[in-house]
Assembly symmetry: C2
Amino acid sequence: MPILVMKFGGTSVADLDRIANAAEKVKREVERGYDVIVIVSAMSGKTNELVRWVNETSPFYDAREYDAVVSSGENVTAGLMALRLQEMGVSARSWQGWQVPINTTSAHGAARFESIPRENIDAKFAEGFKVAVVAGFQGLSPEGRITTLGRGGSDTTAVAFAAAFEAERCDIYTDVDGIYTTDPRITSKARKLDRISFEEMLELASLGAKVLQTRSVELAMRYKVRLRVLSSFDETDETSGTIVCDEEEIMESKVVSGVAHSRDEAKITLFTIEDRPGIAAAIFGPLADAGVNVDMIVQNISEKDYDDDHPGAVTDMTFSCPVDQVARAKKAMEEAKAGGKINYEELIIDTDVSKVSVVGIGMRSHAGVAAKMFQALSADNINIKVIATSEIKISVLIDRRYMELAVQTLHDAFGLDRAS
Amino acid sequence: MPILVMKFGGTSVADLDRIANAAEKVKREVERGYDVIVIVSAMSGKTNELVRWVNETSPFYDAREYDAVVSSGENVTAGLMALRLQEMGVSARSWQGWQVPINTTSAHGAARFESIPRENIDAKFAEGFKVAVVAGFQGLSPEGRITTLGRGGSDTTAVAFAAAFEAERCDIYTDVDGIYTTDPRITSKARKLDRISFEEMLELASLGAKVLQTRSVELAMRYKVRLRVLSSFDETDETSGTIVCDEEEIMESKVVSGVAHSRDEAKITLFTIEDRPGIAAAIFGPLADAGVNVDMIVQNISEKDYDDDHPGAVTDMTFSCPVDQVARAKKAMEEAKAGGKINYEELIIDTDVSKVSVVGIGMRSHAGVAAKMFQALSADNINIKVIATSEIKISVLIDRRYMELAVQTLHDAFGLDRAS
């Protein structure tokens, strides 16, 4: 039998009715001839409740016990889903991480997969079971303790199972009906994509299109797992949703596939710092230690003198990070300065910026995307504060009040409202 | 290190404050020099919620999945208790059934212990851990599935661990402060017992003194585990509560230790049935199949003729069962009659009776207990409907409206308000 992996997130299994609704979708795939592995999250809100209890019990908790507590929500959903399927006449069995077993590292709270042996589940399929309902987000450490994979771990569980079981596809059921050219709340011209490449999806996910966890897309790309994103709440068929797949499967790609945005960014400039080898490490080491997720980095070329005691070249260093990490970033920089590790004249913090990016694998072979982007923004008098580029993405930081306008303008400029 | 087992029921761990309170009691025992095994129930209400979800999802549920779902409540409490202890500076680790492992039979929903190997937990004690917090009520089947032990299974888990680890004592923390000579709500003269024998406790538990599950007392008796019942909510010390122990440990026992009652009983009489070998089996077989818990059984000696077609001795058969099983019992008897298995002239059902019993190991060597009991009841004009006796117990069925009076009268008659 071909194997299909289906994953249902927390809102898709939020109560017994929704579990029943998800079970209907599973049943339909069984009827189409698949052996199905269903990955479930906890009922929405449950994991948060457990996390709150842990935090209230022990603010600096032992991650082993954290994992033992918070993994229980998925176990409940897995059992209920198996029962619901049985009730509908589909032979199903639930699986907790240790029963499969889902072998992971010992990094509690952020464990990584080591291996997912197929024997136990394959044996059940051979017995005639049609569905294995697996509790997502959890695994088993070499020490025999329960681990969790960190937030969004259920997507990653689904992809890992699809890889291990050589599934025909991994369907991620969620509360949106696919991947869009941009956020439909910003422009009604946003259009659902039939297909998107892993690379583009990665850029979109990490840029704030929060449909799929970055890690799950990385894993899917590495093992060439065909992903499909589709809605739990709509009627769905074989053509629903968006397929995330290898670039080669996408025949004629547009130059730009989508416009992403990230609203709450901050821009931090270290004004006038010594321009010497090692200065970047001296800045970004402490930031990493403080848990600041630095995104864009720009270093100005400068020839001005540092100060009388330090003759030689100086520069300015600018980076961006999420607004809610500014306080930590500021503290880290001030401590690094106080400790003599770095020196700067001034720390300039702008917390009113957003990031807008255009993404597309077609960019690789098309010049002029950047020029077209800058021109379009300029025509609307939107000032660009920072620019960063990768092979398939161009991002700019702009004033937050222009964010929606910029997204709409770029969506139009690259013709994303028209099917290719 | 001597080992102590401490068990906390659902009301004792109902919220984070109560878990903290229970953890304080554990810490105190660690400070007294014990390695402690803590058995926890689910936070009160949690298991009921899970059971409700299972029933709503699948009325005729697969017991394997039922067990997978309902066992999760204990896992949460075990993790939270371990975290709380760590927070108080006590090195603790949580254990789910499969991690110990608690090996049971495959009888899902009502599994029985097969073995509890000590290695894993002993190894942790050897590493310096002081407390193992074990999720009660659950185990692992030979097939690698989660089992549950049935309601009240956490008491049984505690006793099984005390036996396996040769614990000095098994302390059952609950919402009462010990075992009383009778229900304190019925007479203020009820007195807490310092000690009671296993045998007496068994009779009291099965007679409706619902402090300890019958099965846990049976297990404790078999393995000679010293039990102590005490309150989670009071300040407790080494002399608190009631010790349940071997008869030999109780120096000078009173003739009668307690008066038990069971309010909602029913009395069913099969009037005029054929008195022949096998008639009892023909009656009580169908009742057992229908899940009726028959308690007292009385057969009248009778010489009257059955009917013209069946010359020979006839009799009346009377039995008691809980009121809420009367409908089932009636149906089973009517079907047996319709099927020709038994015959009776009339089914007489009295749902307005209660059972009152006096219990005491001293009865064995003292004649006249029954006479004293009947005399006391007679003096209050309480009519006895059915009598049943065992080696250490005499029970009577009486009209329900006399139940409180009977308990008070017997408590006085046997001098239970005075310490021995």
